[in-house]
Amino acid sequence: MARHQITVTVNGTEHSADVESRLLLVHLLREILGMTGTHIGCDTTHCGACTVLLDGEPTKSCTVLAVQADGREIMTVEGLERNGQLDPIQEGFWQEHGLQCGFCTPGMMMTAYALLQRTPHPSEDQIRQAISGNLCRCTGYVNIVKAIQSAAATRP
């Protein structure tokens, strides 16, 4: 089976890797690039724990092949903090107790980040719709909504 040489830009840094065709993007990130902030929570593309931004769009990285991301830009949770400053999304989640076990959190925050890029002041309904592809078992979503609203209010 053919292998492929691919180049992906993750959080602004270019990485090259030699990969099997079937390697899932989430495994490229976690195992080859060592960025374990993106998590895996299911096997049927339901839970959204693996959400990253692919060319700015929140995407379930378990349902994208690494080869499909060749030449593309990816943003993961590790890219939210810049120059030692937490992103308003991260501050919002911390401030409003938007996480408990933290496992769904990276994916949830990436979806929220993308939402606020597109819709800086979403209604509660829009927030709930936007995160409906991200499952959380701990929080019951109330504080996640508050976290995103807090981030929306404090974003420059």
């Binding site: 902030g37 299911c42 339901h46 590790e78 107790h97 408990q100 996640i144 909504v145």
Partner: protein
């Protein structure tokens, strides 16, 4: 009640931001699958499609030809070391890998060890297993019929599928009281199997160091010490010794009880590592998690509630059949095979009660208290809160009024229930009244009358639950013989900072923050200066772990007691420093000062420094303490929940319009964290009420074995929970605190069922079993002639 400490100290009552969050919001958590060890191998498991079958051959040759597949481990391999069976936490036995037959669909049959995750998956596909199917039993009633096929043929002398019989209360007295009751309502209720489905599945890395003879297991476990002892007992004969076993439970992505049992995967990974001498990682898929890991519920309940015509309850009788799957692998305290089910007299002053539970084997995965249930309290509360509404309906009484009439009065605590519990404190009337006020109960009832005239289906449901948590007093509570105390070890360093280690293990409940707040409360050391550690058995004091809402009641108490021991020693040092006697000292959080001369004082930081640099002669240096806390009783959090639903007459969909939850967990450490626990618990209460269910067809095939069909709610299905509280401290807990993590999962389902039944009560509907799927409701609407 105002906090005793300032906001920068952050003791009890302060909603300080969580100390565990900085790493989690950066994606720098340390979950088991994030860990890589040099030379690490990967394990994946071959599972059976049959619910009951003899294994006639396991063919590994094709798998072993795949480059990178190193081994295929079967039951025969483990049998050489007598590791193919293991004890369960209820002293039953279950297979690690089978040598003769499989007993539930998706049971582990063989394990592939390979150099990569992907190759291990290929290896699993390449193993072929030959089976001879056997008849399947999925109905626990059929399992107990005389002459039924005996499932546990591994148990010599076992002639049936009966696991246990357990009872509590006064059988004869209750029988008599029911006969004499002016009204009796009876109901069959079934609570189907459900699965916790925490977003992180289970897994481990087993790393056996041949040279040092030391086994380290990074594991998704809620109870690391208990696991260590179990491994030492089970595998002592292959050279594992408890002082050279280290269990590390790092960051855990949700537990809810699903990460308490010892799963076969863990044991196989350990065996593989011991045999091969390299670290072996095993992380289960979601489908494996749903199909093979411990479940919860599966209780067939028959309840009878007797009362006087005026509504005063007189007697409760419950008979339950518990379907445990093929082994009793529930994680109950050993004397309680039906957990704390006997809390089923609930919040009511019940003169007579009798409850009996029988367990049965079936061809399903073993378990089952894994779903935030406080050891079967969800089942108990569901029963009593449904029966209370049944009684209200029968008597044509308002269900709030009926509850208020029957609540244990606030001045009757400690209260001895007819089933043997001593409730520590409660004020049920206040909680219910607060909930009624907050939701506007009377106005809602008026609205319901109006809507009914127009044919609109609106319902209001109440659940006033009493929980029972904090297992538990050593007199009655042990798991596999280990008493259910818990522990704290606190050490203050010269510069006034602290390290505090506990025997519990948070999986999202915020212990790194709340335990620090306990130390802050007791010693005035700012919570930010207290580093809390849990989960590494090499360093943490022995504890029974975190589940059943036991942490604050046991380890939290231990933390307070250890801190108080430290304060006692600090007082001596302060007296020495201030050259006064101890009786002349007054404590306020963070300092000792001289009575009448408050300017003469020493801060806790000064005292701590002195413990290392200027301690009194004859006293040991240092400032630390350990406490193993044996709680004198359980704690009894409680609450009242009110739910408003509207039913779509066309589709049968139930929409929760409002849900008010008033909870009382005694004194609160961190209000924000408690509120978060309630939000999450309510969501895990709604889910089984409306969406989640695992069922089996006649052939033992599981339905609902992936997220396609096991319906975990998203933010769209989840209502905007409204929460509030009352505070009724526990009289026996050092901080007056009770547990709370599971209250909402316990209290919510009957509130929702009661609301839906209430919406349909005028049509003669008396009860609906959960999950109340749209089709179930639609059938009722059709039957009653009110479907759109």
């Amino acid at each position: 009640m105002a906090p005793k400490t300032t906001a920068d100290v952050g003791g009890m009552g302060h909603s300080i931001r969580r100390k565990e969050d900085p790493r989690l919001i950066r994606g720098q958590g340390n979950f088991v699958d994030d860990i890589t060890l040099p030379g690490m191998l990967y394990m994946d498991i071959v599972r059976t499609p049959y619910a009951h079958a003899k294994i006639t051959a396991i063919n590994s040759e094709e798998a072993l030809k795949i480059p990178g597949v190193l081994a295929v481990i079967t039951g025969a391999d483990l049998a050489k070391y007598n590791l193919h069976w293991m004890p369960t936490l209820m002293s039953d036995t279950q297979m690690v890998l089978p040598t003769e037959k499989v007993m539930y669909q998706s049971q582990e049959v063989a394990a592939v060890i390979a150099t990569s995750r992907y190759v291990a998956a290929d290896g699993v596909e390449a193993v072929s297993v030959d089976y001879e199917p056997l008849p399947v039993i999925v109905d626990p009633f059929k399992a107990l019929e005389p002459g039924a096929q005996v499932l546990r043929t591994d148990k010599k002398d076992k002639k049936d599928n009966h696991i246990f019989h357990w009872e509590a209360g006064d059988r004869a007295g209750t029988e008599k009281a029911l006969k004499e009751a002016e009204v009796v309502v009876s109901q069959d209720l079934y609570l189907p199997r459900i699965h916790v489905a925490s977003i992180e599945t289970c897994g481990c890395i087993a790393d056996f160091d041949k040279v040092r003879g030391k086994l380290t297991v990074y594991m998704t476990t809620q109870a690391p010490h208990a696991i260590r002892t179990v491994f030492a007992l089970v595998a002592g004969h292959v050279g594992l010794s408890e002082e050279r076993i280290r269990i590390v439970s790092p960051d855990i992505g949700g537990g809810f009880g699903g990460k308490v049992p010892v799963y076969p995967g863990y044991v196989i990974a350990v065996a593989a590592s011991v045999l091969i001498g390299k670290p072996v990682k095993w992380i289960e898929d979601r489908m494996e998690n749903l199909q093979a890991d411990s479940f919860a519920r599966d209780y067939h309940i028959k309840a009878e509630l007797g009362a006087k015509k005026d509504g005063r309850m007189t007697a409760l009788r419950i008979k339950t059949l518990a379907d445990h799957g093929y082994a009793d692998a529930a994680a109950n305290p050993s004397k309680f095979p039906a957990g704390l089910f006997s809390i089923c007299t609930g919040s009511y002053d019940m003169p007579h009660a009798f409850v009996e539970v029988d367990g049965a084997y079936t061809n399903k995965p073993p378990g089952g208290v894994a779903y935030r249930c406080s050891f079967r309290v969800t089942e108990a509360v569901h029963a009593i809160e449904r029966m209370t509404d049944r009684l209200a309906q029968e008597l044509k009484m308002d269900p709030a009024e009926l509850r208020l009439k029957n609540f244990i009065p606030a001045d009757k605590f400690p209260y001895h229930s007819a089933l043997g519990w001593e409730y520590d404190s409660g004020n049920y009337q206040a909680a219910l009244r607060k909930a009624m006020d907050k939701i506007g109960y009377q106005a809602l009832r008026k609205e319901q009358v109006e809507k009914r005239k127009r044919g609109e289906l609106m319902g209001i449901g109440i659940s006033s639950f009493t929980e029972i948590v904090g297992a538990g007093p050593s007199k009655h509570f042990d798991i596999l013989g280990i008493k259910m105390f818990d522990s704290a070890e606190i050490r203050i360093h010269p510069t006034g900072k602290a390290t505090a280690r506990f025997g519990t293990k948070s999986q999202g409940q915020g212990h790194e923050t709340t335990y620090a707040q306990i130390v802050a409360e007791e010693l005035g050391i700012p919570a930010k200066d207290v580093e809390v550690e849990e989960g590494d058995t090499d360093t943490a004091p022995y504890g029974l772990g975190t589940y059943a809402s036991r942490s604050t009641p046991t380890a939290g108490a231990a933390g307070a007691m250890a801190a108080r021991k430290i304060r006692e020693k600090a007082k001596k040092i302060a007296a020495h420093l201030l050259e006064v006697s101890e009786e002349d000292l007054v404590w306020e959080p963070g300092k000792f000062s001289v009575k009448g001369a408050p300017q003469k004082s020493k801060t806790i930081q000064e005292i701590t420094f002195a413990a290392y640099t200027n301690h009194p002669q004859g006293m040991e240096a240092g400032l630390e303490a350990v406490s193993y806390y044996d709680p004198p009783n359980l704690t009894f959090p409680f609450g009242s929940y009110i739910c408003v639903v509207d039913i779509d007459r066309g589709t049968g969909e139930v929409k929760i319009r409002r849900f008010v939850a008033v909870d009382d967990c005694g004194n609160i450490i961190n209000p924000m964290i408690v509120e978060g626990q309630i939000h999450g618990g309510l969501t895990m209460g709604m889910a089984p009420a409306l969406l989640e269910e695992i069922s089996y067809d006649e052939g033992g095939n599981m339905q609902g074995g992936s997220f396609m069909d096991y319906l975990v709610p998203t933010a769209v299905e989840t209502p905007k929970w409204e929460t509030d509280k009352t505070v009724t401290p526990s009289p026996h807990h050092p901080l007056g605190a009770k547990g709370v993590g599971e209250s909402a999962t316990v209290g919510a389902p009957p509130a929702i069922v009661n609301a839906v039944v209430d919406a349909l009560a005028h049509l003669g509907v008396r009860h609906i079993d959960i999950p109340m799927t749209p089709e179930k409701v639609w059938r009722i609407l059709k039957e009653k002639g009110v479907a759109e």
